[in-house]
């Protein structure tokens, strides 16, 4: 006899599996099939080519991708973890403000963001030249570019994942563990290195996963900063440019396989040891720090870091304030005005992209919130066969390069299918919200998983025992308790969806052109200033949304993941 619990698990699994299969697996399958085709016929040629005749370039690219991704993980961790430590372990005036600023890099629009970096740190950039002029050097002291450029941009834009997971993990660590280590005679550094840091593992693993996958699939940074440096995501692009779509598909498949292997490796790594704190909630005592020198050093470091983190935003602001022609060959901008904003606002439709982005992102976020909640609940609280598979499926939209996701969507939905209710979705308004939805499922599921794992099963049982049916329990008990965590995951998805470019450009229509397209088009017309001005609008929009969600829903960005 199937008991009541199994029945409910199956009922839950149905929508989850249907959506994952329909909107994640089904579109991706076309890429897989494509990778096994050569001139329209089934063959393994692409794979033999990948590992054979084109091996030199492909392996170099694969190796570079992995190498860059690993270094990006490392660098992001190096920035994110200490920052999180400083902001969560030391109390000083303005701490709250700074800890909100810490996630601003995520808000930087991708393309103009990278451009801002070049204006800031490139050979002709503000910082190297300012130093050069200040010290009368004959040459600029440093500049970014090539691998170092990619890495710096990656570290800058991806460290917030580490910052967020570390912050929430730090707050969950039982302080008595650290005290025990002090009591046994170890120094501050030792305690951090031997006790605190290892205990952060689950959070670090989650962050590493996200960063690794994003770096593997990252396009703008390697493309803009090191166009000739071979990485797999660029190889895919060039294969496409060369018209070799099958090879592009093959390379995409290989790239996702690498990302998924990393996922499996990380899961294995985490499961090797136990990081669950034996008991929660006791030991709330926190030892008093009284080393004023250390504290002020830490605080100074933290504030300095914040300033550096905000420099690209500042550059963007400057760019948006420099009228055309006033900063072309000149090292420093020559004039400031609101000209760019005026030009932008002259267009009566200027707010359309903003409104479109907002509406579509909201739709996607509502969807991803509900679906993420249910999926994560099913993954964490129910046991069934094929759980691992489902988990991998959830991460696929994150493991594939965004362009590939976009092309998959076109291929899957430019003909009527059951999953599109017999309609053609391509060319309609709905395709973009759907794309955002799919792209950001992994973010919400990951962040919900973390909170759900902390929720005690007996709460649900208590509600059931009091006579509540499953859905009532879910609605009244589970959701309110895990809401803060899930909302911050959704917020992160929101922030990224607003700036999403690679899938947008393939899927947008006249009626739903989002902000990122507008920025890109300004850039294509060489209107750097207006692009930057629009970028500032995006930054402002996101800042407002973050402020509102913090004020009214108590969503703290640190709680994410």
């Amino acid at each position: 006899m199937i008991n009541a619990k199994k029945r409910k698990t199956i009922l839950l699994l149905i929508p989850v599996v249907v959506i994952l299969v329909g909107y994640v697996l089904y579109p991706s399958i076309s890429t897989i099939i494509e990778s096994f085709k050569q001139n329209g016929e089934f063959s393994l040629r692409n794979y033999t080519d990948f590992f054979g005749s084109k091996a030199a370039a492909n392996f170099e690219a694969l190796w570079h991708s992995v190498y860059i991704s690993l270094l990006s993980v490392l660098l992001s961790a190096l920035i994110g973890v200490p920052l999180a430590y400083i902001f969560n372990r030391y109390d000083f005036p303005g701490r709250q403000l700074f800890s909100n600023i810490a996630i601003m890099p995520i808000v930087l629009p991708s393309l103009v963001g990278v451009m801002a970096f070049m204006f800031l740190y490139g050979e002709a950039g503000l910082v190297p030249n300012a130093i050069k002029d200040l010290f009368n050097l004959s040459d600029v002291p440093f500049k970014i570019g090539g691998i170092s450029g990619i890495l710096i941009v990656h570290a800058y834009t991806m460290y917030p994942y580490f910052y967020m997971t570390t912050s929430s993990a730090l707050n969950n660590i039982d302080p008595s563990l650290e005290e025990a280590a002090y009591n046994l005679g170890s120094s501050k550094f030792k305690v951090f290195w031997k006790v605190t840091f290892p205990l952060l593992t689950p959070g670090l693993v989650a962050a590493s996963l996200l960063v690794f996958m994003v770096s593997m699939a990252s396009f703008s940074a390697p493309f803009l900063l090191a166009g000739g440096y071979r990485v797999l995501s660029l190889q895919i692009y060039f294969s496409k440019v060369n018209g070799d779509l099958e090879m592009a598909a093959t390379q995409s498949v290989i790239l996702s396989l690498v990302s998924i292997s990393f996922l499996l490796f990380m899961r294995w790594y985490q499961s090797r040891k136990d990081y669950r704190m034996a008991s929660k909630g006791i030991g709330t005592h926190r030892s008093e720090v009284n080393n004023p020198i250390l504290k002020s050093v830490m605080v100074t470091l933290g504030i300095l870091a914040m300033i550096i983190l905000l420099l690209p935003h500042a550059t963007l602001l400057i760019l948006s304030l420099v009228p055309e022609g006033a900063w072309t060959w000149q090292t420093y901008p020559q004039a400031f005005s609101l000209e760019n904003f005026r030009l932008l606002f002259d267009d009566p439709n200027i707010w359309d992209p903003v409104r479109n982005s907002l509406i579509m992102t909201c739709i996607a976020c509502i969807g991803v919130f509900i679906f993420g909640l249910i999926t994560s609940y099913t993954l964490v609280k129910r046991s069934f066969i094929g759980k691992n598979l489902l988990d991998i499926l959830v991460m696929i939209p994150w493991a594939l390069p965004a362009t590939v996701v976009g092309m998959n969507m076109i291929l899957a939905f430019n003909k009527p299918s059951v999953f599109s209710f017999g309609e053609i979705l391509v060319g309609t308004f709905w395709i973009l919200p759907l794309a955002y939805f799919i792209r950001f499922i992994p973010l919400v599921v990951r962040s919900s998983n973390a909170v759900l794992e902390q929720m005690d099963d007996s709460l649900e049982e208590a509600a059931q025992n009091l006579g509540a049916k499953w859905f009532y329990t879910f609605r009244r008990i589970v959701v309110p308790i895990i809401l803060p965590g899930v909302l911050s995951g959704t917020l992160l998805a929101f922030v990224q969806a607003v700036g999403e470019f690679p899938t947008s450009v393939l899927l947008y229509t006249l009626d739903n052109r989002p902000i990122s397209i507008e920025i890109m088009n300004q850039l294509r017309m060489f209107n750097m200033g207006q692009a930057a001005a629009f970028g500032m609008i995006q930054v402002g929009l996101i800042a407002i949304v973050m402020l509102i969600s913090y004020r009214f829903f108590g969503v703290k960005s640190e709680n994410t993941l």
Partner: protein, 344 residues
Amino acid sequence: GGDEEASNGAENEGSGDGSNEDLEDKVVVYSPHGKDILSDFEKQFEQEYDVDMEFLDMGSQEILDRVRSEKNNPQADVWWGAPQVNFDQAKEEGLLAEYKPSYADALDEMYHDEDWMWSGTSITPEVILYNSKEISEEEAPKDWDDLLDPKWEDEIVIRYPLASGTMRTIYSSIIYRTYKDTEDPQEGYDWLQKLDENTKEYAANPEIMYNQVAKGVGSLSVWNMPDTVMLAEEKGYPFDYVIPESGTPVLTEGIAMIKDAQNPKAAEAFYEFVNTPEAAKLLAETYYRIPTRDDVEDLPDWITETDINPMDIDWALFQEKSEEWMEYWDNQIKNTEKDKSNEE
């Protein structure tokens, strides 16, 4: 296109043959030309015909991706603006429909597809671009071979050729200069090898290249003439150009009909509309585009006064060989270190 403009169509005076009753209600245009040009043409087109023009503005490569993905259910009717290499690729994949415009006679055969899968709307001669603040007109290199002079070491910034149709064409042309006689690309490779040695860095997109040249990170580049003129005149960049004496590749930017388009009639109207002599003149005057038609009068000075010596190019051969050549360049010649400056 907005609905507010559709109402303007009521007072349209009818044009050309005035047979716009059989036209569909709208036409969808994919184009990389930018909002300025597109809205300008939208207004004019909608005034003339009772058709709502809708445009999506994106890069040529993205258009190709999109058209390809939408093959089974095309959303676009017309693809306006892309270097001919993109069109050739699309043609090969069977994405385009044949259309022979009414002004076919005014087009040099160099400027249209042999099967009329696309036709040219403007031409872009490639030039040597230099920073006029760093280099005087006399100093500037006069021909392609001058670029190899060791004095330009680390002065050249080049848009990364693999990602750019323009640059691919220039590189292929250089190889083709000798290949057409020897049937062997080696001489061309050697030339590119030397260019690579002088190259300071490869820039990923045009904006970066402009910026690096303008700020003097490098002072030379190869680029197309219309953009160079536009940047110098409109945006205040310190750019000037030299047309290589020995001849330069001239790229054609064209327009094409999408196969199985939903609004073929309106598309034809649009196809015709953007290459009327008036339109071509407008494009030349306001947007720095050199027309393909030979019957356009009163062109601006910068077009009429320059003496372009078009390089003789076998596009079919390019289509066949360019992938191989670029792959060779990518694997054997390109110095990865120079991707973007030396690392610190």
